[in-house]
Symmetry: C2
Subunit: 139 residues, 2 copies
Amino acid sequence: MSAGAVTIGEAARATGVSAKMIRYYEETGLIAPAARTASGYRLYAEADLHALRFVRRARDLGFSVEDIRALLALWHDRARASAQVRTLALSHVSDLRRRIEALEGMARTLENLAAHCVGDARPDCPILDDLAAGPHADS
Amino acid sequence: MSAGAVTIGEAARATGVSAKMIRYYEETGLIAPAARTASGYRLYAEADLHALRFVRRARDLGFSVEDIRALLALWHDRARASAQVRTLALSHVSDLRRRIEALEGMARTLENLAAHCVGDARPDCPILDDLAAGPHADS
DNA sequence: CTTGACCTTCCCATGATGGGAAGCCCCACA
DNA sequence: TGTGGGGCTTCCCATCATGGGAAGGTCAAG
């Protein structure tokens, strides 16, 4: 099949995962230790690149490295139940939704405050007034 | 006026900022070094607590410590233009909105994938298939 | 005077990433 | 055959905001 193994720089270019991160993933056991040349260079075969692309895609979807560890295990487990994958994905979605709500709350509050701030050369500013009032119950 | 100064633990309780963080904020110059008792205990007067509550509120609204540094400066500057505060706040809002959009994209993608995954005992799983396909253009 | 709760400083860890130094390796070209 | 430049190796450090914990001093109540 294809030419065979490539070095870490080419693997990085081919997968969108930086060489730094490839080494880090190896060090933390997320991916298997790469094969090495006689002189110690890491070598990546097509299957390794495939795994790296998997990791990259999962990172793009916001999964933590720990989550990806689980996803990779499921990927490699041909006897997995798709329910497990689905559960993992949906629990990540609720996490995302929770974070989105938190950020939404902040954005809404700030937009409200900004809407009441004339924003001219005068010093009067409801935004600072709000901050100065300290921690709020919410919104 | 009020009873005077309190120790760091009471300040933490009174402001919702942990003692650890209070020391950190002092170390990094976000807040002024606290007064000290003869034996070296930090002491916080009402004005200090006010500043800490300001910081806490700003953190709750997602401002970075660096942003808060600017906000505190504006707060203390009685000649400030409210426009400056407003600009800072709105730029933070766009940052929040950008992050929200990124998370939304992830959540939507995962929900789509999950919707196509039967999630039973069988191994077939569009979620893993997607991940295995590697980095995507988007959505 | 003891006890327990508090304070001090100092160091370490997190998660995922990048920066950079020192030193080895490999290929192409002269 | 020698050399230059680019790529590889490992190792250490920084980020950002936060917490944990150890070793040791302090304070107030009993």
